[in-house]
Symmetry: C2
Subunit: 110 residues, 2 copies
DNA sequence: CGGCATCCTTCTGGATACTG
DNA sequence: CAGTATCCAGAAGGATGCCG
């Protein structure tokens, strides 16, 4: 197999884990705050429902991108953090953020 | 609004354009070949159907990420290229590719 | 070759209500 | 607070066939 094919396949593999409408936004919410609670993420990611957030977080946890810690407060709080592995997406998130900003600027002049 | 919120929103804006299961893979197929025909992309992106590819390409064209050129051959050939704007995603694609490779390696030892 | 049209199934995801 | 459960509409997406 050629190098390009490998790369295209690798991109697809990456997107397989980062699938869904919200996954990347959820990750960025956590990563820009180092630690984040359920309700905070719900607020960060505009438009997401609790059901979807719950589902996305579970998948991220299964793929070892985030950790979930229940704090014994009253009422309970749950803290989500990125694993080191999840942190390795930081560069990509930053680039996407920059690109998104640039795009917004571009769209304004249309 | 705070800086983090801006960034999270920017990421979401970016993902709004790059939505769908296939968009990023399609872009990577084109960008790793500088120019690519319909049937070639169909082969590059494993699992995509012609219907989906057609739809994704249209959306990418509408968002000015790719250009579509019909060549007057017999039978006709259609060439897709990234615009400069589309090229600006190259860094992200490369990072995603690297990340995907690393992930595959990681998964192997589970 | 590069699609579009049609049919049909599966998945996505929103709204609302409820629980420990 | 941090979810789960249920219901349901609409979108995504696969298979197949047709066309210039």
């Amino acid at each position: 197999m050629e190098e390009q094919d490998q790369k295209i396949k690798a991109v697809h593999d990456a997107m397989d884990i980062l699938n869904g409408k919200w996954k990347i936004s959820v990750i960025s919410s956590i990563c820009y705050h180092s630690s984040r609670r359920f309700s905070e993420i719900l607020n960060d990611v505009k438009g997401i429902s609790n059901k979807m957030l719950s589902k996305e977080l579970k998948e991220l946890e299964k793929n070892e991108l985030v950790t979930r810690t229940v704090l014994d407060t009253q009422p309970i709080t749950v803290e989500y953090k990125l694993t080191d592995y999840g942190q390795s997406l930081r560069t990509i998130i930053d680039h996407l953020s920059d690109w998104g900003m640039a795009h917004r600027k571009k769209s304004m002049y249309k």
